[in-house]
Symmetry: D2
Subunit: 343 residues, 4 copies
Amino acid sequence: MSDLAAQPLDGDPAARVLVAGANGFTGALAAKIVWDHPRLQLVAATSRSDAGKRLDALYPRYRVPIELTELDLDRLEGIDAAIVAYPHGAAAPTDAALRAAGVLVVDLSADFRLRDMDTYERWYGEHGAPELFGTGVYGLTEIYREELRGAELVATPGCYPTASVLGLAPLAEKGLLAEVSIAAMQGTSGYGRSSDDLVHFSAMTENAFPYKTEGHRHRPEIEQELAALGSPVPVTFVPHLLPLDQGELASCFATLSEPTSAAAVRALYGERYETEPFVHVLDGPPNLRALRDTNECHVYVTVAEHGKVMAFAAIDNIWKGASSQGIQNLNLMLGLDETLGLT
Amino acid sequence: MSDLAAQPLDGDPAARVLVAGANGFTGALAAKIVWDHPRLQLVAATSRSDAGKRLDALYPRYRVPIELTELDLDRLEGIDAAIVAYPHGAAAPTDAALRAAGVLVVDLSADFRLRDMDTYERWYGEHGAPELFGTGVYGLTEIYREELRGAELVATPGCYPTASVLGLAPLAEKGLLAEVSIAAMQGTSGYGRSSDDLVHFSAMTENAFPYKTEGHRHRPEIEQELAALGSPVPVTFVPHLLPLDQGELASCFATLSEPTSAAAVRALYGERYETEPFVHVLDGPPNLRALRDTNECHVYVTVAEHGKVMAFAAIDNIWKGASSQGIQNLNLMLGLDETLGLT
Amino acid sequence: MSDLAAQPLDGDPAARVLVAGANGFTGALAAKIVWDHPRLQLVAATSRSDAGKRLDALYPRYRVPIELTELDLDRLEGIDAAIVAYPHGAAAPTDAALRAAGVLVVDLSADFRLRDMDTYERWYGEHGAPELFGTGVYGLTEIYREELRGAELVATPGCYPTASVLGLAPLAEKGLLAEVSIAAMQGTSGYGRSSDDLVHFSAMTENAFPYKTEGHRHRPEIEQELAALGSPVPVTFVPHLLPLDQGELASCFATLSEPTSAAAVRALYGERYETEPFVHVLDGPPNLRALRDTNECHVYVTVAEHGKVMAFAAIDNIWKGASSQGIQNLNLMLGLDETLGLT
Amino acid sequence: MSDLAAQPLDGDPAARVLVAGANGFTGALAAKIVWDHPRLQLVAATSRSDAGKRLDALYPRYRVPIELTELDLDRLEGIDAAIVAYPHGAAAPTDAALRAAGVLVVDLSADFRLRDMDTYERWYGEHGAPELFGTGVYGLTEIYREELRGAELVATPGCYPTASVLGLAPLAEKGLLAEVSIAAMQGTSGYGRSSDDLVHFSAMTENAFPYKTEGHRHRPEIEQELAALGSPVPVTFVPHLLPLDQGELASCFATLSEPTSAAAVRALYGERYETEPFVHVLDGPPNLRALRDTNECHVYVTVAEHGKVMAFAAIDNIWKGASSQGIQNLNLMLGLDETLGLT
């Protein structure tokens, strides 16, 4: 390995971390957060297609002077934890190999988010490691914090479920939700690095549009989590692509099961998130610039003219919606303060 | 008047047109469309604050070489029609003076959109010409075409009502709507020319946010029109500002009063808009770039997993959402082909 | 051929036109301009990789309802003229085949722009039709108008040479230029449709940078044309990519061979371009929005503190910098008014 | 004073800092950097027009929970240093009052940048504190580091001079420069918070243009500093506004006084900046995204075809071009490590 292949050791790291798929948007960001983390050591950042390139050549602004290498699953000695930023399908077998070697795994893909195999297969196809299916902890930190402490395989939620569930959890937990429609929107980083006509600057500038109108795979994930919180309700969901890089908003229209005043709804949100380090309940609508490049979720809730609750939840889709939530969870898995490296 | 104060006469115009408030975004665009129109002659473009400036200095891309003058309501001879692009409140008395002089009026403001004075006063304050209240025709061309032929005072709909009502009309007309939630979004031209911190490029780039979450005055207008079509239903509505200039999308989640298949819903939309020159029913989601700088409305409708109808309607907010729809109506008022000057 | 493969005939066209490579940015725009042109009939739009797709599916805003087909050089009967929007190298042999069949050719590539084969080979490699090299007319309309009337093979200039040479021609023609440095900048449409990391919206938004700093192949083309005008001077040139779609600016710093007052320089520009339909000499700096989607070139010239001339020339890089200039020339080749279809 | 008026004390600050004019872009950023700085305590952030508002309401992303107050020059006890972010003209008298009270002053305005009063008056008008004129240290850290240690009044350079002088200093110091032309470009944050038509999102998106073409006041400042380095040469300079928020590029075309190879020029730059913590000499052209929100300057230099040197220097115009360079200098004034709070 070259001098560039691992972060110089500084003090006693809580874990030596591998990032697999570090050439994509979320993998590269995960590598950056690990690199800047006071207790994690980035020992390898891997990529098949970009092996040999430096990460700070691909993503200069992240300033991670490490060379991308190919992942060798036979040489995992000295690796305590891995963040796997692979496409769904490809992640599961890698996760399995990493777990077999005793490596803690934070999976950023969809492979372990769903808890029903039929649903998984409908939306994603055949699963790559069915023997592990159902064994991961769903990494929405604010909901599953206790299960995440000491977990060994964590499925980082999809970006839309992160915003949507955090935007609705205080209602769902009280069983107050009857049904919900969600207009979600995010920037082009959510589309991933793989370029095509759609995210060419010339196509996206001065443009915006709904997509996946016939069904987006994050909808069943949102329904799964609202049900787990106590509200097994129908969710209507449509995402939109916006002409910006990072940022995501879930604008939720919720019908409540019983009339509830705006004051009561706000009190509910205030209490629920009072002690959360990263979820801030605002007293006006959130905006995406305010939380870019952070692990925060900004929530605002109000009651509209005819009684529907409108809940707005904003995140940075590649931070709290992916990589930084992964590190928040890794902190818990390692017994560290969950905010470490994230503020 | 200087040589720059009126368009040179070319043939026999159907009407000599004044644009009042031609220094704002929608007034300037109206002046441009009149200028380019084969049967309209732009005889004056007025502005209090920018009088003396040339319109093609303020808006070079519109290429209208006319000098802005102050409106003189005592000298309206030779003017057949006026497009009034004033703020609500200020428009009504000007409209009254113009009508008193026999001038046909297309009002781009909100002053004659609502048909209930209490609702008007709740959202806009005191009305500036109560004697005329209720006498205007609502200028959503595709709905009120017959009333618009020969009308003398037309209230151009709000941009959000234009998109929302066109997106829902086929359902509303059949009485199929039970309730609807609308997440609408538009670019910064909808905010108007009056600059403030919010629309500074440095504030809007890489940003997006909901606004007017406690109530937007376009909601009662949408409810009024859906009711007029046969569906007096509750509307929950929230607008968002996007980092783009021109373009607007209404993403509507509608609960139907009876189960209806996607095929049936699509057939309904197809039939309803089959002969409309400017409303196009697409077979996939619309995007804003495709109709920028046009009078078109692109509609797509589908039925989501749990039965809600999702209807998407896109327009250019300052064209079909304001100025070009005003000219579409003026064409009808003058007995011209409604597409004249708009294709 | 399907009904979608050719434009319905309307009147007596001056030419039946084929656009080869109509799936790229400049080819698609050429097809749109031909489609909208009052005297040209678009009889085929071809593409190897996108054959079978509709052009209005790839570029909805151009509204050209034609199906892309594969080019068949053995079936050119009925085609009077072709616009060839191929990459350099690939264009020349196609041009040769088209010419052999008697088809007038407007080449948008670099294959016939340079007049020195060594220079061509240095910057572009082996030429694909050396027997035709030197036989094309350089299609900078404002300079070569007379040669273009009746020409049979026209090389449309590069976008940077178009702006740069128009910005400097009045000085070059008088032999006043001693040397020039050009900082040019353009939007991402200049990069072409072929997506890669560089033009991903997430990479370009909030970014800008110089590129090809070690040498850009448009520099020798600019030098060739300034020399042809009477000023064989050294040109230092560097392009920049900006976060916008269409638009190009050449900011030129010119040392004159003799002291010349600002007034004299301005008079020179005013006279030179007085009768040009598309080149406008402004009395202040140009901006890109003002001429987007037009064939115009906006020029401003001033003399800086220490005597250098600063000349600024702005165009839309895919209009005047490519496709619409191609049609301007085709008009001349066909004996039509050069502004036809372009205003 | 409310609880929000000063930063809680944490340890022993090196200085208690006031930011005057903290409601503007550069003042707000200065307040943020002071707030996050390990050895500075923000004791007041002042603003006349926004007094009473919270800074984190005006600039949520800076997360500075302090209330803006009005500056009271009679109550400066307990203040060790001030950053003055006032417009030129207004800054000087405030600086004088602060200095009279023994407060160290970092002025972000132009009031003490120039060393020749005639030049000052030509470009800025009457000076507000002529008795102090000439007593400030020019705060281009990499050039005046020794003078800045212990300085009491520091004039932070203009953003364009910062980039331009850092881009040319290695040549200027060796007396190698003969003349230079600079095409500079920056985002809309350089225009300041004061909104007008020009920086409305609707005006700037998809736009770019040169401005101040008849003379920009940063040109004499650049000439002053190049002369001070040993190269009293004529500078031709033109700035451009780009559709982005933060970021600035100076693209410099330099004629050398003697032929110098690219290798020699690069060696010169490499040596000159080898030990600089914030100036990085790249081996390819810089881009603005890579250094956004940092105090860095990225430089690339090459020699063009005909012998001119092309030097490119990129900075974040409100960081290194204003506020963070101010803190870099304040660190030196206080005897601290100059990188403190900036990495």
